[in-house]
């Protein structure tokens, strides 16, 4: 418990400007990352991306290190991304999927972690449907935990790859106007991006219907400089980045939306809306997309869309993080 505290205690927007914690054991969220640490990671990511462009896409950095991909939720693309990242660093990678079934209660989660530990795992990459689950694992695992998405809470590697992509394309993050539109309240991508983007000095607007957002004050209490909007038409004006979130169909079934049709009309990212943004505006999406719902097919494949680049950069970012974690353990 104390070691967990050590890595997370510096967490707060107020302390972000201070120097980064010297040795990070886990990556659970971006809330405890300083601007400097993010910049370092983005620099490491650039080196990793260079490795991936070589004919032989592999370096021996993590030889002898065992990485376990522990995925309790279906996510083929994220799992493959982590797997490729670990392999590119020459780590031993094992995949463990157990969606839902016997692993319902934490007793089993803790048991699983203890078993993986006894088997010699060094890094656990974990995806879990419950917010906060990686914090529980971090308390019971002596190695490093890399959060690959927990419930609605955090998806730090996604946010870092988004930052890398923005920086790569636009040359900076600071001062950019970023609109995050969609199912904010249920989105771990939105939360981690809020930490990352605000730490880097971007101006963030959250845009969603109230049923997918909640009262503005609940967001601005933690992220004071964030703007809340219910009008995509208004907030895309002059935007540098439009970040679209996936809308799960269950939201409509749960009564949070009258219909997908209306959602698409009011909050879908279409060509007309992108046109109102800055000419260089990037259109992003963490995938998988519901084309025709939150994003129109022509936008997804347009020149301004960087959705595929995000996927490519994801491998490099994950390499960078594993590399840094392995340095510690």
């Amino acid at each position: 418990m104390t070691t967990l505290t050590n890595t997370t205690v510096a967490a707060s927007p107020a302390t972000n400007s201070q120097s980064s914690p010297p040795r990070r054991r886990h990556v659970l969220d971006l809330d405890d990352f300083s601007r400097d640490e993010i910049i370092e990671i983005l620099e490491t990511t650039a080196s990793m991306k260079e490795v991936l462009s070589r004919p032989i896409k592999q370096v021996p950095a993590l030889r002898g290190t065992t990485v376990v991909n522990m995925f309790f939720e279906d996510s083929t693309r994220t799992r493959i991304s982590f797997e490729l990242a670990a392999k590119a660093l020459s780590a031993n990678v094992v995949a463990m999927t157990s969606k839902g079934s016997s692993v319902e209660k934490g007793e089993s989660l803790i048991d699983t972690v203890r078993t993986l530990q006894a088997l010699g795992a060094n890094i656990i990459v974990m995806r879990h449907g419950e917010s906060g689950a990686p914090y529980l694992v971090a308390q019971h695992f002596h190695g490093s935990v890399l959060n690959a998405g927990d419930g609605r809470h955090a998806h730090p590697t996604q946010a870092l790859l988004d930052l890398f992509t923005i920086n790569e394309r636009l040359g900076r993050v600071e001062g950019l106007k970023v609109v995050i539109v969609g199912d904010i309240v249920h989105s771990r991508v939105a939360r981690s991006n809020l930490w990352g983007l605000t730490a880097m000095g971007a101006q963030v607007t959250l845009c969603a219907p109230p049923t997918l957002l909640g009262p503005a004050a609940l967001w601005t209490a933690t992220w004071p400089n964030v703007t809340i909007s219910h009008s995509l038409d208004a907030c895309v004006a002059g935007a540098d980045v439009i970040m679209t979130l996936r809308l799960q169909k269950e939201r409509q079934e749960a009564g949070l939306l009258p219909s997908l049709r209306e959602y698409s009309r009011v909050f879908g990212v279409n060509a007309a809306r992108v046109k109102r943004a800055a000419p260089h505006c990037l259109v992003m999406h963490p995938g998988p997309m519901n084309e025709g719902v939150e994003i129109m097919p022509d936008v997804a494949t347009s020149r301004q869309s960087v959705i595929e680049t995000q996927v490519t950069n994801g491998v490099a970012v994950r390499m960078a993080l594993m590399y840094r974690l392995a340095e510690v353990s």
Binding site: T8, S12, A14, S131, A133, R191, W219
Partner: protein
């Protein structure tokens, strides 16, 4: 055995007495209360076979009554038994605990109630008053045989934890209970609004991505139950009020003359949802006075010590903070304290809810809600006194006279002739919560490791010592001041 409890500060809210004096206990009863100013008694011989308990520096009060305790027996003895739960009660200064019916099987038939009362007689350290289930199987449909359950000893009815969702069933329960002259204790939660909840819906849940239990889910149900009580003329008791809106609803209903009473728990009166953030938040955020209300905040320098109720000592998403209703926001805590002070809230009740490791060592939202509260109740609520937010006499009233009146009882008191159910506590005793020393099997509390000020020294039930801390009160030949006794007493 006879006892002379000497030189303590006697606080007996029911008799509006607060004085320094002695209490003589004989044959399980309070024999005499002797004001120190009354010098005539000084020379009187005490006779043989008497133990003198030196209570100098400590408070002597009627034993506390807990309206809301989960003893888990029968059915979940791995979490708590009547023996361990009542031992925990004695350590917390409680001489009466009202046992909630959500056992397995529940208190929905006479057989179970008799079993509970029998186990309490045999192995209970203090009095157990069973609360009957409102509906069979606590399923919210068919009323239990309430008349027979009252005959068997039930003092109230509740489907605690599984609130009666159907308003027509609640209406009938209230009307029927009114005939029997017992209250319906309502856990007010609209299950549709709170569906899937992990914690209080607010700033912290938004940050942590945890599904929220909005304050309105409690408030709409309180409003409903008040309306039904008003219609039926029944006595509704609102369990563990946790929201500012809930306090306001109860206050307004009382002003209209509705027979409504309410309780609040020590944890809802002292902790907020910020505890779920644990070490992720700023260290040592102290509760700042809001300026609302007229109370003055005393600045006790000890309260600023880092150890004083510091949420950063626990990990983020620590499941010990998960409780139903959830720990609420700062404004809610303020409103609860205000409600306690102005009489809107009648009683402090622990909602002692022991759970095993298995129920708590898991993902946050999946953890069983509940805090093991009997042994930290006094230390927590005395925080309000030390902060100057509540006076000691009024606070003790909320643990004695208040809950007694909810049950329609003659108030617990130290009047000569009344049962010798007595607590002696040192309001200034500094200690650190160590769940390893709990009598309760439930070690699920977010305040483990926290420093509290105020501790029970001795609990007497029916004139016998049910709990004694160290050798408290023992005759050492010198005048002891209890609060200076740390070295002698230690934490056992």
């Amino acid at each position: 055995m006879r006892y002379l409890i000497k030189n303590g500060s006697i606080i007996d809210p029911a008799r509006r007495v607060a004085t320094v004096g002695n209490v003589l206990v004989e044959n399980g009863k309070v024999a005499r209360v002797i004001d120190l100013a009354d010098l005539s008694t000084e020379q009187e011989p005490l006779g043989e076979g008497i133990e003198v308990i030196n209570a100098r520096g400590a408070v002597i009060a009627p034993g506390f009554i807990d309206l809301h305790t989960h003893l888990r027996e029968p059915g979940e003895e791995h979490k708590e038994t009547i023996a361990t739960g009542t031992a925990a009660a004695a350590r917390g200064g409680f001489t009466t605990v009202c046992a909630m019916p959500n056992t397995r099987p529940p208190h929905d038939r006479v057989g179970v109630v008799r079993q509970v009362l029998g186990a309490a007689r045999e192995g209970g350290a203090v009095r157990v008053e069973p609360i009957g289930a409102i509906t069979l199987g606590r399923e919210g449909k068919n009323l239990t045989e309430m008349a027979e359950l009252v005959e068997a000893g039930c003092i109230a009815f509740s489907d605690d934890g599984s609130p009666v969702s159907d308003p027509a069933v609640m209406r009938n329960a209230l009307a029927y209970a009114a005939m029997l002259g017992v209250p319906i204790m309502s856990h007010c939660e609209d299950l549709k609004l709170s569906h899937g909840w992990a914690m209080h819906e607010g700033v912290i849940s938004t940050r942590l991505g945890l599904p929220g239990y909005p304050a309105a889910a409690e408030e709409v149900q309180i409003a409903r139950d008040i309306a039904l009580a008003e219609m039926t003329g029944a006595h509704i008791h609102i369990c563990h009020v946790s929201t500012a809106g809930g306090v306001a609803l109860v206050r307004a209903a009382k002003q209209r003359g509705v027979h409504v009473t309410a309780e609040a728990t020590p944890h809802h009166l002292t902790l907020t949802d910020r505890w779920v953030l644990g070490s992720l938040g700023e260290p040592n955020e102290q509760r700042a006075p809001t300026g609302r209300g007229k109370r003055k905040h005393k600045h006790d320098p000890e309260l600023a010590l880092p150890g004083w109720l510091d949420p950063t000592k626990i990990a983020p998403y620590d499941t010990s903070t998960r409780v139903s209703p959830p720990l609420r926001a700062e404004e809610d805590v303020e409103a609860l304290i205000e409600g306690l002070r102005d009489g809107t809230i009648d009683a402090i009740a622990t909602d002692h809810a022991p759970h095993s490791h298995v129920d708590k060592e898991c993902e946050y939202r999946l953890a069983a809600p509940g805090i093991s509260g009997l042994e930290t109740a006094l230390g927590l609520v005395l925080t309000l006194v030390h902060r100057g937010e509540m006076d000691l006499v009024n606070l003790i009233a909320k643990l004695t006279e208040g809950p007694a009146s909810v049950l329609g009882r003659t108030p617990a008191t130290l009047r000569p002739g009344s049962d010798a159910d007595i607590v002696i506590f040192d309001p200034d005793y500094n200690w650190v919560v160590d769940t390893g020393k709990f009598a309760s099997k439930g070690v699920n509390t977010p305040v483990n490791g926290q420093r509290l000020k105020g501790q029970v020294m001795l609990t007497m039930y029916h004139g016998a010592i049910a709990y004694r801390r160290g050798n408290f009160g023992g005759s050492t030949g010198i005048l002891q001041q209890a609060s200076r006794l740390e070295g002698i007493l230690e934490d056992e």
